[in-house]
Amino acid sequence: MHSVVCIKQVPDSAQIRVHPVTNTIMRQGVPAIVNPYDLFALEEALRLKDQLGGTVTVLSMGPPMAEAALRKCLAFGADDAILVSDRAFAGSDTLATSFALAATIRKIQENMPVDLIFTGKQTIDGDTAQVGPGIAKRLDFQLLTYASKIVAVSPAEKRITVERRAEGGVQVLETRLPCLITMLEGTNEMRFGDMADLFRAARTPVKVWDREAAGIDDPGSVGLKGSPTVVSKVFAPKPRAKRAEIVETADNDPAGLAVTLLAKVFTQHPKLDRELTKTVG
């Protein structure tokens, strides 16, 4: 079994803010973390490895500092880590990102065929949930989105069964390998690596591939040039001018309270008052 887990380094969105005046995203000083959804994907891949043996490769496209995110994944138990990093990738949208990742996985396959690709459901900074499906399409892999659990994998029969959380219930889906799975959150708990994992992580260098090493010949297919999406504007929603008002009730008098509330509504919205009077007569 060879699983590739795609991970993205993201700013900890709990700590990110939009500058009220310039409307730019203030990333400065915001710690970078592994996209939380991707850790569920990684843990699921590691569990499969515990069960069936094999190799788990973690892959990320990003700036050099994303190496830290990959190191972290090695310490959790991944065997190999590849960072695709090149100035040519700057400004990539989901189309260009999935193109680049698919190309890289094709390169990885030259050394060792890939049975499963894992991604998170979505990222916490881009939130599009498009990169996983984009990769699957390009590599002609089967695609199972929003998986909540891997039920069984049979490498011999090249079959996989997963549970998928859907509206109104849980679906049990089965398909053939190779397959790409996007993992839902809250499905498992990331392990605490052993000392041996930490040693292996410390001794395993993160491979850094540039555009050419990733097998991308045309620089125009990635980065800003390869990205048809244009972010035309980013803005923070205006804080609401009006605050909720708390109406005190004196004694247990629901009827009186209802009258008070209606009176408030109608004084604030005279038009509503007029129209109601018209229709009710």
Binding site: M195, L198, A202
Partner: protein, 434 residues
């Protein structure tokens, strides 16, 4: 089979990094273990970096270390409730390269330092907490981390695990810490635009100011406060002895809040955005609080060994120097093919005694006890000084001779002649060498 190294360094603070770097540079196999997510993620300092100590370890540190500002001005303030008496020393000497003191932000500096440690060849593993020392009789043969399969062996373990020094205590190498030997410091980092900082402190790009404070800011407790300028932020904080906090009802953050409202301090941080709040222990017991610092298979460096000069606010430089000296001791033994036994490692103590570290601690040996016993230095005197300045400066038709007499009278009324003389003597004994 357990992994084995020449040296295991516990902690990736100033002492641990200095030790790991020096050992790795000399070709020893080094494992450094840090419990924080990254080196520096757990570390708290004001922070002033003294160039001399780091220069002895990494001579060209100025090339790429993340330094905030070099210090060109030092202010010392004695604060009353709403006034301050002080002195300022500013000199162009401090503006000449190579600069002597810098402000730094530890989270950044420690990561830089750790990169150097890794490039020198040490293996650095974070998010691994050393839970105890592995002992063979009385000899330390390694450590056990909180990870499964966490036993790791080494010829020598350098304990640079900071102020709490849990590992040495657990192993019985030192007694429990005494609250009268520990200060608790709280600090905040306030962000302001670079130009605002430079205009408020009348400094140019890269130039910085330190304000050291004493007096009413510590609410009668033994302690000091500080304010340093970084590139785009101001660090300020206050620290007092733990034993005093135990007696007082005031909490550390109340103290800091009061300090921020002081009329001399409030305008300096006005309009700023507080981004970071931290609290940390500082070992300030001085010379007599330094524990046994070596034994069979182990050495202690940095805050864990109580190497802090509280009176001069020096800690990181003592940490780096002791870390380096510990490393050099092991390197010399290895080169001579000698084992890391207690008698052989005693060379470390000799190196310490011979360095500024123990000389300075010895010079101020009496200071902690004297200040503990004489709270008037933190209560009565700041008030008297402020009153004296007020009387002298105010022009109100009273002749100067009368003013001087008034000042003398308030001093004598509060402390008596004998009290004043004995206070002066005590203060001199605290800061003068024997």
């Amino acid at each position: 089979m357990a992994e084995k190294f020449d040296v295991i360094v516990v902690g990736a603070g100033m002492a641990g990094n200095a030790a790991a770097y020096t050992c790795a540079k000399a070709g020893l196999s080094v494992l450094q273990l840090e419990r924080g997510e990254t080196p520096g993620s757990k570390n708290v300092q004001g922070a002033i970096l003294y160039a001399d100590a780091i220069e002895k370890i990494i001579p060209d540190f100025r090339d790429d270390a993340p330094l905030e500002r070099h210090l060109i001005e030092q202010r010392v303030w004695i604060l009353d409730d709403d006034s301050c008496v002080g002195s300022t020393y500013r000199s162009e000497e401090f503006n000449r390269r190579p600069y002597n003191r810098y402000t730094i932000i530890r989270a950044h500096f420690d990561q830089w330092f750790s990169k150097k440690v890794q490039h020198a060849g040490a293996m650095v593993i974070c998010e691994a907490t050393v839970e105890e020392l592995l002992l063979d009789g009385k000899r330390v043969i390694g450590v056990r981390t909180d990870r499964k399969g966490g036993e790791i062996h080494a010829d020598c373990v350098i304990l640079a695990d900071g102020a709490n020094s849990v590992l040495a205590r657990k192993a019985g190498f030192r007694p429990e810490l005494d609250p009268k030997d520990m200060a608790l410091a709280v600090k905040e980092i306030h962000f302001l635009p670079q130009e605002t900082i430079e205009s408020r402190f009348s400094i140019g790009e890269d130039e910085g100011v330190v304000i050291e404070m004493a007096g009413k800011v510590t609410a009668g407790m033994m302690g000091t406060a500080f304010l340093y300028t970084n590139k785009e932020s101001i660090t300020l904080g206050v620290g007092c002895m733990l034993s005093d906090f135990k007696r007082q009802t005031v909490t550390p953050y109340e103290l800091l809040d009061r300090m921020k409202r002081h009329p001399a301090i409030a305008p300096l941080i006005e309009g700023s955005d507080m981004k970071e709040y931290a609290a940390h222990l500082i070992p300030e017991g001085g010379y007599d609080a330094v524990p046994q610092v070596y034994g069979d298979g182990w050495l202690i460096a940095g805050d864990a060994g109580q190497f802090v000069n509280g009176l001069h606010r020096e800690g990181s430089n003592l940490a780096m120097t002791t870390g380096m000296l510990a490393a050099q001791t092991v390197i010399e033994l290895k080169a001579a093919g000698k084992a890391c036994t207690a008698p052989n490692l005693s060379a470390y103590k000799a190196k310490l005694d011979d360095s500024f570290v123990m000389k300075d601690l010895k010079k101020y040996r009496r200071a902690p006890a004297i200040f503990h016993k004489n709270p008037q230095f933190f209560t009565t005197y700041p008030e008297l000084l402020s009153k004296a300045a007020q009387t002298l400066i105010r022009v109100d038709g009273v002749d100067k001779r009368t003013k001087e007499r008034q000042i003398r009278q308030t001093f004598v009324a509060r402390r008596s002649w004998w009290g004043l003389i004995s206070d002066a003597f005590k203060f001199w004994r605290a800061v003068e060498s024997k």
